[in-house]
């Protein structure tokens, strides 16, 4: 009884509840020591003869060697895509193209665990996200465009759509496989062939995707994957392709647009952002806090549409910031493969340097910094989720894309002021609005200069939903019926109704 009696009176409060580590097994991924370029349906050694090590950013350890494609490699890849385009693919029945895409989608679903683990290993993102977001969305994207492949004339009535030819596609390191899906699925649905260059730091899921294509028995050369740094991308831009699709920084996007000037090649650009996430005082606050967290700490803030500028109505500023800070203390930063990790590793040393440089600028300019207590692993690239308050519109941290887990908080008083501040940027990719008032949502949505408006939610993606920017965030859309258009040519000069 004594034990039971002890339990009378006030019960003890535990001093901690540490969740035991719950690592996802790496066993499921079979890494090769060295990868080839995926050209003409085969993994081939690069003509350049050059390789580089790709890392696990959480351990700073090399995972494998991948080729640094040279000019000749790019030329051969484009040639392979050209052959495939001219000798079968563009003339194949659309329904056959659809079935290849369905196959790819199915295989991705079947192998999703493997790809999720590999994505987290090579990119540093939490397995929770690669498992629940990247992989399901990548497979869904192939499913979605599979369905369009043989229905193009319904998507573009009276326009007689036809493929462009060979598309060169350059993707970033933040959602390696998902961005691959966004690029390849609509291109193939439209009857094009592809040369895709994954980002320098995250080539592995793209290379393993080559296996998926072989498994799907996609005709050789329809998709070619070439790895390497910016030099490989630059060579692809200059190569003999009909179309370039690029997702990445605004700086590089401008360089590509300049490079293609006067060539008549089609171009889509999905570039940077500095999105405003706007909280009105009548918003559902706890959900808004989740939206803020999801907006800026999702994928370590390596998200072009991240809600990196928080605009808070002054009348709710204090309680909201208190809630936000409190919420930050529950974020679990660490091992990307741990299923309980909320914030993983920063993708690369270079990116970490950039974040650190901008955060230092924020301090110097006089913003107030908040970082929750947080134990970071000793090895690897890490950055504590950070909130800057007392930020002025003129500070660098309010203007420049940090591309890290760093939030800048500004305030506003009226809806007009919120719109003015939100639009006061060269970017225009996305924006968030939180209010319980329906008419205000529509009023704001109409005025915000951004390609995606999330109202009472943030960072949602779907293959049926067009995504892309206004202003310097780029042009062209990915997703939805609109995402097909950049990969199609239409009958020439036409006059309707006249």
């Amino acid at each position: 009884m004594s034990e039971l009696e002890q339990r009378g009176g006030r019960a003890p409060i535990p001093s901690a509840w540490d969740y035991a580590s719950a690592p996802e097994s790496r066993e499921i991924v079979e890494l090769r020591e060295r990868y080839g370029l995926f050209v003409g349906g085969e993994f081939v050694e690069p003509r350049s003869g050059e390789y580089y090590a790709t890392l696990d950013p959480a351990q700073e350890e090399p995972l494998a060697e991948v080729p640094q494609a040279g000019g000749e490699d790019i030329r051969l890849a484009v040639e392979s895509a050209r052959d495939a385009y001219e000798n079968g693919w563009s003339a194949a029945p659309a329904a056959e193209r659809a079935k290849y895409l369905f196959r790819i989608a199915r295989i991705l679903q079947e192998r999703s665990r493997e790809f999720a683990v590999l994505e987290s290993l090579n990119g540093g993102k939490p397995i929770r996200e690669s498992r629940d977001v990247d992989l399901p969305l990548a497979a869904a994207h192939f499913f979605y465009y599979a369905g369009w492949a043989d229905k193009l004339e319904y998507a573009f009535p009276n326009r007689r759509p036809r493929p462009l030819g060979v598309a060169g596609q350059i993707i970033p390191w933040n959602f390696p496989l998902l961005m691959l899906a966004w690029k390849i699925a609509p291109a193939l649905a439209g009857g094009n062939t592809v040369v895709l260059k994954p980002a320098e730091t995250t080539p592995l899921t793209a290379l393993h995707f080559g296996d998926v294509l072989r498994q799907a028995e996609l005709p050789p050369g329809v998709v070619n994957i070439v790895t390497g740094d910016g030099r490989a991308g630059a060579a692809l831009v200059k190569s003999d392709v009909e179309k370039i699709a690029f997702t990445g920084s605004t700086e590089v996007g401008k360089a590509i647009q300049r490079e293609l000037a006067g060539t008549g090649k089609k171009l889509t650009l999905e570039l940077g952002g500095k999105a405003a996430n706007i909280i009105f005082d009548d918003a559902a606050l706890d959900q808004a806090v989740e939206g803020i967290v999801n907006g800026i700490y999702f994928n370590q803030g390596h998200v072009c549409c991240a809600g990196s500028r928080l605009l808070v109505q002054e009348s709710i500023y204090e309680p909201l910031i208190e809630k936000l800070k409190r919420r930050l203390t529950t974020l679990r930063v660490g091992d990307p493969l741990d299923k309980n990790t909320d914030v993983g590793a920063i993708n690369s040393r270079q990116q970490l340097d950039k974040i650190e440089e901008l955060v230092a600028a924020g301090r110097d300019e006089g913003a107030e910094i908040y970082q929750p207590p947080c134990r970071l692993p000793e090895k690897g690239y890490w950055f504590v989720p950070t909130v800057f308050t007392n930020v002025a519109q003129s500070y660098r941290i309010a203007q420049e894309e940090i591309f890290g887990p760093v939030l800048s908080v500004l305030t506003f008083r009226t809806p007009d002021e919120a719109v003015e501040k939100a639009n006061n940027t060269p970017y225009g990719l996305s924006a968030g609005v939180w209010t319980e008032k329906g008419s205000r949502i529509l009023w704001m949505a109409e005025r915000l200069e951004a390609g995606v408006i999330w109202a009472n939610t943030y960072n949602r993606f779907d293959p049926a939903s067009p995504f892309g920017g206004y202003k310097e965030s780029g042009f062209g859309r990915e997703g939805g019926r609109h995402g097909l258009e950049p990969y199609l040519d239409f009958e020439g000069a036409e006059t309707f109704g006249g």
């Binding site: 869904a140 326009r159 605004t250 996007g253 401008k254 360089a255 647009q257 300049r258 293609l260 000037a261 006067g262 060539t263 650009l269 570039l271 060269p426 949502i441 949505a445 951004a450 390609g451 995606v452 408006i453 999330w454 109202a455 009472n456 939610t457 949602r460 779907d462 049926a464 939903s465 067009p466 995504f467 892309g468 206004y470 202003k471 310097e472 965030s473 780029g474 042009f475 859309r477 939805g480 019926r481 609109h482 239409f490 000069a493 036409e494 006059t495 309707f496 109704g497 006249g498």
Partner: protein, 272 residues
Amino acid sequence: MAEPRGGTGRLPVKKTYKLYIGGEFPRSESGRTYEAEEQNVARASRKDVRDAVRAAAAAQPKWAGMTAYNRAQILYRVAEMLEARTPEFARLTGDEAEVNAAVDRFVWYAGWADKLAQVLGASNPVAGPYFNFTVPEPTGVVGVLAPEEPPLLGLVSRLAPVLVGGNAAVVAASESHPLAAIELAEVLATSDVPAGVVNLLTGRRDELAPVLASHMDVNALDVTGANGDVAELERLAAENVKRIVKGSAEDQSPWEVAGFLELKTVWHPMGV
């Protein structure tokens, strides 16, 4: 220079061909003119481009904020005013059929104003409890390098799709045949088109085009009528990621409008 007509002895008041900026008809701030179609025509300068873009940027939100029905009404009114001046335009272009086609083109595009969102937009069935829709919106200020020929129909074919979507335009008129453009400005000025929504500049194309292409507050550039170094214009346009549109002087289609539109996708949860 000109002789009194018909021997009546009356000396006509000769029109001075000026620029059209912000709803007004100024001379070029440079004071310069050039000769085209046997007239002295204003030769717009860099600063005139600057003023025109400023006027366009100021006028555009209000134009875009009008109901689509109202924009259609105004464009329809333009067609009416244009038609009423058919003899004058026919005299300038030497082709009454071209004038008629230009009138019809305005009428055709006017009717698109309240249909674009239905044809170009979408509601998107996303996998979750969200309502998701995509609407076209104007891109903002559009620089239009009007085709040299045909002087009226070429201009109208490029301008009408820009306007119907809710954009404001800064037009570099045909260098060799600028008179129809200036005449059109007078039509616009009397058609309830808000001041600044259309700005027409006459002058040397090689002076105006690079300024428009590099202007950081111009969102899109129609290079249909560009002559000379288009590649260079596109390079300049990349500095603020301008949308480049290349159509033809004859096209009439909703896809011409689409080139000057952005697509905005809005998500909202569906819950109680």
